[in-house]
Every structure is written in structure tokens, then in C-alpha cells.
Amino acid sequence: MIFPKWTNRTPIPVAIGGGVLLVLVVTAFAYYISPYSTQVGYAPTQPVPYSHKLHAGALGMDCRYCHVAVERSPVAMVPVSQTCMNCHSVIKKDSDKLAPIRQSVETGMPVAWVRVHHAPDFVYFNHSVHVNAGVGCESCHGRIDQMEVVRQAKPLNMAWCLDCHRAPEKYVRPPEFVTAMGYVPAGNQLDLGRQLVKARNIHPPTDCGGCHR
């Protein structure tokens, strides 16, 4: 029993093929578990088809009109039903889409919104300190003003956070533009950013304890 001639041609192709296959599998897996596949683009349907595109975009409402706590609290705060009724007791007061809101106000039962942006619970993210430091809403949430349905725009993984924590000057804005959408820095962002970082004495932590407790 001896091996036929052709078998001599097998080893090299097998070796190469195996290598390539391995690389492919690993890459595929890496992408599959990455936040780019698990997080970005997550856009669940909400109990009320609220359109940020209309309110924040077309009507140009300020984020803080609804998300009132964002400057003072760790949580930006999803608005209470009453907030909607401030306008909708007058406008579109009978719209079926708003039924859940009206019901909530009557019964006092909350509206069950679906969470879109979700930091793991060992991450202690604080909206107020970021907003006050001049991190724009847009920087983390994307062009909310263009979203009919809110979707997660950024991966929100740790490396992504660190990118800004290590070089805030790349992103920080003057306070007045924090809620601005599609903000374009007046001049070079890096120069502006450095001034802001200096002026407002911004030194974001890169220590674990800054976010994990």
C-alpha cells in the first residue's frame, strides 16, 4: 500500500485553505459579538410612535424640554406623561396615537417605553457631568433630529468611550451648543477643544473607578 502520486499535491493547498478558513471564522465571530452587530441600529418599536424627527427636527424643540434632568442628574430622564400633555392637551388632543399617554395621565400608570441606549449595569454613566462638560447629545446619540424611530447610532462600547475620555478635545463643544444637532465647530475643533478643556478644566477619568464601582 503506498499513497498515489497526486497526494503529494495536497499538503500545501490544505495548509493554506485551513489558514484562510480559520481567519474567516474568527473575523466573523468577532463581528458577531461586537457592539457593531449587537448594539448599533437597535431601534425597537415604542408604545407611542413618538417622532424625534418631528419634534426635535422639524419643530426644533430643545432636548431639555423633555429630558429635564439631563443637566442635574445621572439620568437624562424619559419625560413624564404630563410633559406630553403640556402641548397635546391642545394639539392633536384626540389622536389615537396619544391614547396611551392620555390613559397614563388619567390612571397614573406609567407608559412602558422601550430602552434604546443601554449601558451595562456595572457601568455608572452620569449624564449631567458629560452635558456640563460640553459633550453634545449628538456625540453619543447621533442625529436624533433625523430619526423617525430612535435607533442606537453609536456602539457605546468601552473602547469607544475611552476614545473621548483620552482626548476630550476631539469632541467637546461650547456649553451653548450641547443640544445642537449637526453642530459644526466655528474653526478647528482641536484648537477650540483644547481651549474648552483648559477653560473648563475637563480631565475625564480613564481609571476604572470612574465608571465601574
Binding site: 500500500m1 503506498i2 499513497f3 498515489p4 502520486k5 497526486w6 497526494t7 503529494n8 495536497t10 499538503p11 475611552l162
Partner: protein, 187 residues
Amino acid sequence: MSEKSAARPSAPSPPYGVMAEFVTPADLMRATGRLRARGYTKIEAYSPFPIHGLDRALGHGGSKVPWIVLGGAVLGASSGLALQWWTSAVSYPIRVGGKPFFSVPAFVPITFELGVLFSAFAALLGMLALNRLPQPYHPVFNHSRFHRVTDDRFFLAVEAGDPMFNVERAEHDLSDAGGLNIEVLQA
């Protein structure tokens, strides 16, 4: 078997060479000497275990494996140190136990280990590469008694590539040198 019998009758292709069997290493040694004396240059011996001085007798050069291994060692150690330096001091410098980010003494063990690891691979792969392995088929396997080369028999082959190769002469010289079961090997 099938390939072999198929190859035998219709043998238009030039043979690979002529191979004879020997019983003891001493015989093989003697035979090798004889053939070399006759001026053969492209002959190869086959044995169940390494025989001292045989490759000198066959006029082979020394092995190149050492150089390959050296390469492996250098690559391994340097990549080991680089990995530790980059991850601990560049990518994410983290304060640990009051030690510097680039704590050379603490990085020695892994550097060394990776050096060894890579050289070991280099040795194996180098050996295989230089021996053109894996190579499941080889003409010498066509010799009907060659399966004993891994048991207790010794073989000497005169290859067709030899300038003074000629089937008849090769057969004659091998039998002169005390070779048994002389066969012509199909390529």
C-alpha cells in the same frame, strides 16, 4: 498496490533510479563507498535509524535547521516583549502595584517563553521543509521490499539525475557492492 501494478508494464516514463537492499549498516556503508569511488554523485541511502558518517560518505552538506531555529527564537522573543510593552505601556497604561507601565523585569519570563515556543515550531517546520515533508508518495516506495526500510533493512538508490546514470550499469554496480533485490524505480 493497484497504482504500482498499473505503472509496471507500461513504463514509457524515465525511471527515478535503481535501488538495492542491504542487510546491515556496515554493508550499506561499504556499498556507498564503492559507488562513490565509481564516481556516482547522486545516490541516496535509506535506513531504519540514523547511521553515523553516512551523509559524509554520501557527500551531503550539513543541515540548515539551526539557522531557521535562530530566526524563530529572535522573532519569538522580540514579539513577546513587544506585545507586553505595547499592551501595558502604550495601548492602555494601567497603574499596577506601583510598578512602572513598562516593567522589564516582570516581562522577562513571557519574553523567554515565547522565544522558546517560536524556536520549537521553527525546528519542526524547518525539519519538515528541508525534508520536503509531508510527501506521501515517493518513487522509492515502489521498491517491493522498501517497507522494511523502517524495520531492519538498508537501501541504496542511484538516482536517474546522476550524470553517469544508466539502468544496466547501476544495477551491475549495486550488485557488485553486495546489494540484494535490485529494482528499477518508476518515477
